[in-house]
Structure formats: C-alpha cells, structure tokens
Amino acid sequence: MTSPTVPVPAFFDGPNGPLFGIYHGRAEAPHPAGMILFLPPFAEEMNRSRRTVSRLAQTLAQHYDLGLFSLDPSGTGDSGGDLADASWPAWIEDGLAAVAAIAAQGIPLAGVMGLRIGAALALEIAARVPVPRVVLWQPVLRGEVLLTQLVRQKIASTLGQSGQGSRAPTSQDLHAQLRAGTPLEVGGYILPPALAADLALVASEPLLEATAAPIDWIETGSAPPPASLTALSARYPSRVTLHHLPSPAIWMIEETPPVDDLVRDLGQLWARVS
C-alpha cells in the first residue's frame, strides 16, 4: 500500500538572495522523518533530470518517509538571483543555507546527494558541516569536465547548419571568449564568464577525505566502471563505496525513460542504516 505524496515547495532566505527548493512528503503527514539535501546538475542537465528526481522524491517519501529537498542554487531554477551573478562559492553558501533551513524546520538531515556537478557541490557541503551520509550520483568532480562539455555542446549546436563548416567557432575561440569575459550562450543558457572561471578550478576529489560521512558513489553506465574509478574507491576504502547501477542518463535524455530500477535502488540505498 502506498500513500499519496504531495510536493512541498519551500522558499527561504539565503545569503545570496531568496532560495527555492522542493521536496515531497506524505499527504497525511508532510513532515518527513528525515531530509536529504539534493544538489542538482547544471543548466539543461538540471532541466532533463527534474522528472526523474521528482519520481525519486515521491518514492522516498512514500516508502521511506524521507524527504528529498531539491535545491535550486542562486540564479538557477526558481531561486532568486541572476545566473550572471552566480559563483561556485555562492552555491556552496546556498547549500549550507539549505542545511540550516532544514535544521530550522526540526527535520533531521539524512544526508546530502548530488547528481553530476551537484555531486561536487555535495562534497563541498559535507566538507564544511557534519552530514550523516553522502551520495554521489554519476559525479562530475572536476569542473573543467563540465566546462569542456558546455563548449562542446555549443560547437555541436552549430553543426548541420547550412554549409558553415569552416565558420563554426573553434573550441579555442570559445574558451578564449569566456576567459576574455564574454558570456557564452549554450542551449538557451547564458554561461557567465565568472562562473566558467570558477568551474575551471573546481576539483573536488580531495574532498572525499574532508568528510567523516560514508560516501556512496554511483556509476550508471552499463559498461563496468573504468579502472580509474575502481582505483579511486580503492584509495579511500573506508570512506567510498562504489555502486554500479546501470541506468539511463536521465540528465541527458529528453524523454524520461523508465527508471523504476534506479529509483528503487536509490531508495534502498538511502533506507539502509549505515
């Protein structure tokens, strides 16, 4: 028997302006027994992953009485602020403000979870405040990987346009443009040069050692995780548990594919008492 859930939107004051987040709670008792702070991926990845994250939130509420508080960092989603003013340090502050807001509601923090670049943000938060658990979902821990991806996305968007092969911007052009302080439009989002510069410096792997919390690292590709990854979790045996959960890249696929297995597995992961 499953109880219906309701979305619970929440606006609260953050250090960089008003912040918005949403979780799901049981209809008859929306205050969950514990709350997971979720840090989403960036831009179009955030957009495409929303539905699956919502489905996950509903499952966690229904079956485990856990809320999944999905935070929109400043300048993204429904939070206040302009993306043009966003910065990595500001987003860390926003995450910490969300932890405080959850505590102010008297709801125990079950942990933090981040998807893609959100995983790097989750580690930043776990490095600064005690959290019981960290779950990294297909983590991107190096910001330059995301930056490279955004520039490649821009180049890819120019392909197939009438005979412009030789006029397409080069990768060097676009990276130089950002470094020179010119924003870059990618897939409908305006990537600010300051944020791009911040991302280029994000390298969160050392933060795996900066938290006492157990870390669950989830890889979703169907191919076995590369040797570099198994080696990484071997470097932190008492901290990082690598999970291979083959599942669709829901941050990339526009049409939300069936994700029942993934949602079930993630739910069970969070329900486990460490």
Partner: protein, 88 residues
Amino acid sequence: MTAATTTSVDTLRLLITDALALGPRGAALTVQSPLLGAVPELDSLAVAILVTAIEEHFGIVFDDADLTEETFATLGSLVQRIDAYRQP
C-alpha cells in the same frame, strides 16, 4: 576492416544505445546508419556528453576540432574517428 575497428563498431553501438537509451533502434545500427540529424536523441547536449563517454571508455582525448558533421555523420564515421585516435 581491422580487428580493432570491428571491436570499435560493436562497442560504440553499445555505448550509444546505452547512453541514448535507444533500445532496439540502437541494436539495429550499422556502420552506414546516419547519426547526426537522423537520431533525434543525439542533440547537442547528447553529443557533448557522448564525446566524454567515448573518451573515458576508449581512453582517448577528443580534439574539439574533430567535432564536425563528418565525424558524426554515421556510426562508421565515428568509429573511424575513434580508431584514428586509438592508433599510436
């Protein structure tokens, strides 16, 4: 076709099918199958993420200068690009 190329076709087909959740459509891809413009899931975000997945899987570094219509025209052209990187 060299053995390396044959391995690349099967591997790439699986990689693309998995990444884009193509199901049976993915399994049916051949070297002649057109990709860019023909597979609707392969939009610019998917291309960018797929390139990273290819890099990680094959242990190569993709030169962004090779992000061209020619490279992504067909499964075969993408395999050729990957194999060119894999050859020392």
